[in-house]
């Protein structure tokens, strides 16, 4: 846990100048992200309750299930996961480049533009302005704001990386660098086609949306999450990442083959498209296994013990990357895909990717970065451990029933002799357990937000105090004479 240990990952010792440059950008990115996370999880819980009691809040047209669930998903992904990960990435890049953040004001502006975009997008969904494409529901205005904000952050990140003092690129760099290009390309391309003035004809819309969703929820989350994880794990465990060759193999496999997954079997599109995805999914499996092996060997060799701190978050997140990625690729297995399509399996899997893998690693990164950058301990350091266990138990309770229930529901759907209502009833039993999991995750997120907001408040108070002290201080002699 010693940040000054030998530098297995290019992580440098504390650097006052770099810390100062990161304070405001990180608080701006994380603060908004924590707020959206709590809001998104609360909406997710409301959406879940609507399945137990269909007419819950049913009189309000703003809060139909379709709107609430879209808002909840978008808030967790665009409101929390992406900006929080971008903040942690900036911290990783400054640390591993041994540089202060280049253009520190740019990410501050970008954070505010991004969070404004999220607000515009979510308000749009509630008012009926969703585009109707899964994971691209935000309106055109919101997409423009988000893309601008992302470019600004990417400029600052790329400049920090380009002017680095530490010349060697570490595996964490490959992943983060790739993630920056990946999001800019996929998000702009998908929005230009689907959210532009002339949407393409018919199912081309869906094909582009599947391409985007796969590249965001599988490849991008993988790149960004592993980039952060492969920096944190050696740093916290005090041991370098093992097997650089295996990491490279996994990285290349993920970007070259993972990017071709995503077209569901049986989709109403020309048959070559799902076939390409089936082959690509098969070719991605070795890459996922390689990346899992690297994580496992590095985690096993760690000198530090896992006591509910950032190391636990990182380890659990990496494990869930392995599990969720293999389950995701299973969707493209011709024997399994037709069973689980159109069931709760897909929803549960996405939640596992987002909350089990990605959010876990990002939480670990934030809990590690914030005290260091702010130069003060977390206000309620004990709550970190509570958050870890709440989130871990919550994620398992939330997603495992959905995954199992999805398979049970799918088998009923494929059995033409069973009435349709049977499939719904089967899933409902599992949904009841999963709502309990959502509650755990929400409580954990509340603790996370509490730590973050109190810390921001303390920092602001200290800033005001130092300003008052500066104002009250006697003027230097030179100025008095003038």
């Amino acid at each position: 846990m010693n940040p000054n240990a030998t530098q297995p990952c290019g992580c440098s010792a504390r650097d006052g100048k770099a810390d100062a440059s990161l304070q405001v950008p990180l608080l701006a990115l994380f603060g908004g992200a924590a707020l959206w996370l709590v809001a998104g999880l609360a909406l997710g819980l409301i959406a879940g309750i609507k399945f137990h009691a269909p007419d819950f809040l049913g009189a309000c047209p703003l809060l139909t299930y379709g709107r609430v669930v879209a808002a909840a998903n978008n808030l967790v992904l665009y409101g929390f996961a992406i900006p929080a990960a971008l903040g942690v990435m900036l911290w990783v890049l400054t640390r591993s480049s041994r540089m202060p953040l280049v253009l520190p004001l740019v990410p501050v502006a970008a954070a505010n533009i991004w969070h404004l975009g999220v607000l515009v997008g979510v308000a749009g969904i509630f008012l009926g302005g969703s585009t109707g494409y899964p994971w691209l529901e935000f309106s055109r205005a919101a997409a423009v704001l988000q893309f601008t904000a992302f470019l600004l952050i990417a400029v600052s990140a790329a400049a920090t990386l380009g002017w680095r003092r530490e010349q060697e690129l570490f595996p964490a760099h490959w992943f983060i660098y790739a993630a920056l290009v990946w999001f800019a390309w996929t998000y702009s391309s998908a929005n230009l086609f689907l959210n532009g003035v002339f949407p393409p004809r018919g199912v081309v819309q869906n094909i582009i949306d599947w391409w985007f969703t796969n590249n965001l929820l599988f490849v991008w989350l993988g790149l960004a999450g592993l980039g952060i994880g492969f920096y944190l794990l050696p740093r916290l465990g005090g041991r370098p990442l093992t097997c650089s060759g295996l990491t490279l193999f996994g990285f290349l496999g993920l970007i070259f083959f993972g990017t071709w997954c995503g077209i569901p079997i049986g989709a109403p599109v020309p048959a070559w498209l799902p076939v390409v995805s089936i082959v690509a999914a098969l070719l991605t499996v070795p890459a996922i296994i390689a990346l899992g092996l690297v994580s496992l060997r590095t985690a096993l060799g760690a000198q530090a013990k896992c006591l509910g701190g950032p190391l636990c978050f990182t380890r659990f997140g990496l494990l869930m990357f392995f599990v969720s990625s293999l389950l995701y690729l299973l969707n493209f297995c011709p024997k399994v895909g037709p069973i689980v399509q159109f069931t709760w399996f897909g929803f549960g899997l996405t939640q596992l990717q987002l909350l089990g893998f990605f959010a876990m690693i990002v939480f670990g990164g934030i809990y590690e970065a914030l005290p260091e950058v702010m130069g003060r301990p977390l206000p309620f350091a004990g709550l970190v451990r509570v958050h870890f266990f709440a989130n871990m138990i919550g994620v398992l309770l939330f997603t495992v029933p959905l995954l199992i229930g999805g398979v049970a529901q799918g088998l009923k759907l494929l059995d033409a002799t069973a009435p349709f209502a049977d499939s719904t009833q089967t899933a409902l039993k599992f949904l009841r357990i999963s709502s309990l999991g959502q509650l755990f995750i929400l409580v954990g997120a509340g603790l996370f937000a509490l730590n973050l907001f109190v810390m921001t408040l303390q920092w602001k108070l200290a800033l005001v105090k130092s300003l008052i002290a500066a104002a009250k201080a006697p003027l230097p002699d030179a100025e008095v004479k003038a």
Binding site: P61, I255, V269, F347
Partner: protein
């Protein structure tokens, strides 16, 4: 990879390839798709939805109906059926043959053999093609959905979850406008174990005026409006119902052939 150039070019190549394959490729193949012709007919397919239904598609999108309903029928295979249209000159032989031959749920080869046996005996036959699969058995459609079904839709909402039944052919399965409206107003009034929430905000409960409105819902017993009141759909409610009634995607096509029931004798 020790330099950022290596990473940059690897990323460019990887993402560029999938972009060309999954964005550019489909745009070239399907981006200029036109109406096609219905199999064994001169009718064109699909036709644009009428105005009210087109507005209803936006209501469907706006309330997020696709969160619980898919709009795509899946099929696992096809099967053939041999139908005797005329016994010919030798009805006894043919009818004896009929009792020995298997004529339904055949493969193409078996259907051809059976048809040949019957024709050789002097009968006249037709071979009918039908799609198979759980969705087809449930009556959700006569064939699987294909790209042509969505030609004019923006956005195309295929759906990802079947918390409710598939809606690809709901307009054909329940062509009764009153049924659709009552189902939106009080789902349990027409589907006993429905898990759908009621969309009461798409309706107005108002006092009956000088004469009852022709648009007023005919509600089943137990779900009637209070005495002296009537339930009338709002503009959005009427549009949504018109859209649901317009959902009808089972024209036989070259890429999704089947023999429509009306062609059977």
């Amino acid at each position: 990879m020790k330099t950022s150039y290596g990473v940059f070019f690897a990323v460019l190549a990887a993402l560029g390839a999938s972009w060309a394959g999954f964005v550019l490729g489909p745009l070239i193949q399907l981006g200029a798709a036109q109406q096609t012709t219905v199999l064994n007919s001169t009718d064109v397919y699909p036709i644009q939805r009428p105005g009210l239904a087109a507005m209803g598609a936006q209501v469907y999108r706006s309330y997020g109906c696709a969160a619980c309903h898919t709009r795509q029928v899946q099929q696992t295979g096809i099967s053939f059926e041999v139908v005797l249209t005329s016994p010919g000159k030798d009805p006894v032989t043919v009818s004896n043959l009929l009792s020995t031959l298997k004529l339904t749920a055949l493969t193409k080869e078996a259907a051809d053999t059976a048809a040949k046996t019957l024709t050789d005996a002097g009968g006249k036959t037709e071979t009918h093609l039908s799609a198979t699969g759980a969705d087809i058995s449930r009556g959700w459609g006569s064939r699987h959905s294909v790209a042509a079904d969505y030609l004019y839709d923006v956005p195309v909402e295929l759906g990802t979850l079947r918390a409710g039944p598939d809606l690809a052919n709901i307009g054909q399965r329940n062509p009764d406008a009153n049924w659709q409206l009552v189902h939106l107003y009080a789902p349990k009034a027409v589907v006993k174990d429905s898990a759908m929430p009621s969309f009461k905000f798409l309706f107005q409960v108002r006092p009956v005026g000088a004469a009852p409105s022709p648009d007023a819902l005919k509600l089943p017993a137990g779900f009637e409006a209070p005495a002296g009141m009537e339930v009338v759909p709002t503009a959005e409610g009427a549009e949504l119902a018109a859209y649901l009634l317009s959902l009808h995607a089972d024209a036989p096509l070259y890429e999704a052939p089947y023999t429509p029931a009306t062609a059977k004798p």
